[in-house]
Amino acid sequence: MISTPENQTQDNCFDTNKKIPKYIRRSILALSIDDPLLEKKSFDSWADAIILDFSKKSNCGWQQDIHSRMPEAINIAAKGGAEIFIRIDNKFAKSELEATIFPGISGIVLKGAHSAADLQKISSTLDSLEIARGVHSNSIEIDIEVNNATCTWNLLEIARSTARIGIFFLNEQELCINLGIQTEANLPFDPLEYIKSELITVATSIGGQAVGMSYPLSLASESIDGEILRKGILRARDTGFKGAVCPHPDWIKLCNSGFRPSEEEANYYVKVIEVFAEGIKHGMASVPMDGKMIDVPVDLRAKVYLEWAKRAKARDAEKQQAHHKL
């Protein structure tokens, strides 16, 4: 598009037609397909997304075993309206992908990647599997679970390696161990602060998003007091994370309500848009409101945030519908 005075503002700020965030995945829960309560836990969780893990039988028949059980596991885990992902170990990616790619999944979570070359290989395997398994071409997303120094160092090239990349998140326990950082929250600051900043920036630069939690809750693995968790989620959201991988089902409800603009914020943004529109009508480029100055970027942000709130509400309605079906 040629830049003109009319479209210049949109070019220079951000495109309101582009979805921000790309996905509504505020709460992500990992469950095992070996769990006899998989159906109940998935359904009762109200998570936006579920990552399915699997363990391999020690004998050589593991691939056939997982291949035979995975379609049913995907089906039952999705009953509550969650998007389904399969966690794949980069070391065994090809054989694990062959055993787990079926219709009904939104993507894979790749753990242990080191380089763009790893991603290119996996994307190529997915190209073939999508055709073989009757899955829409290029529909299977790849999300990156960052758990090692090399992956962290190569983040940008990994992000740019394939158009399938969707979400980035840190496996903080494993990354800390890999980096030699204490896994107990004994520091007065987040030792991964700068890695998180890079993760958010890189993910956003390719049109994806990052999910994660603020320190020290990011190292927690248990149920947390509601008020502490609510504040931690707010801090994570305001840092740029669009959701979190929940280490405990108790986190999900607060993540669903926290990783989105609140009702109060939405009301404020409605007012911002109204006040600014009124000012524009009167030939003003910026308008005072409650002691603040509303101009084009603030108006655009208000529109994006309202759209985000609307989509989060729609996602909740989808899950409600899935629950009422049964």
Binding site: A149, W153, N178, L179, I181, F189
Partner: protein
Amino acid sequence: MKKKLTERRSWMIVPAHNPQLAKTIAQYKPDVAVLDLEYSVAPKYKEQARANLAKSISRIASESIEIFVRIDKASRLADINATIHHGLTGIIFCGADHEREVAEIEALINAKEKERGINSGNIELVIMLESAKGFWNLGEILQASSRISAIGIGRIDLTMQLGPTPQNEFRLFRYLMTRALIAGKMHGKQLLGAMWRPDSRGGVANPASTKLAAEQAKLMGYTGCICASPEQVSPMNLGFSR
């Protein structure tokens, strides 16, 4: 016998031109002795410092202390020539900006090892990062020599170049320490540095703040640090102990 990288907690630095100071090293029990040819040696004593090295290295090595020599980037050829002797554990090279500088050092050490009958590849190399360029090129720098066993952060030079005006803590250094940590761990190197505070750092840090700086650095994956004064050796050893 060489120590494990995690056993090199305190790197006590002494000017190489003063053999009397070098004789006091053992009493402070540092894990590593560093004979300095850089900042702590005035230009008029540089030649004398180089001339003292062979004898000092031999004597310190006889006390079973590992010895590194910190060379001056500006006079690196002469410094390396004077430094490579039996008993030396490694060289500390400060201010690398590009991999080609490290490759040049690598070639010089190779040649001197051969010339002086030292096993090839025996002399280690420690890279102290002192510039924005060095941080940006870190991935390539670390691949320029297989001798590199550790990387550290040269805080004073970085502060001069990057110009932060720290109030309560060096927030900029947390970013730099994180970047060095990722690169170092990716290549299996020891990380040298401490979480100094602006009002208590380097040569002026008292024992308590030295220990705290080491403890916090340890939590961040760092396992040793240069001691600008002998009094920092003991708290550094304590702070970095497992």
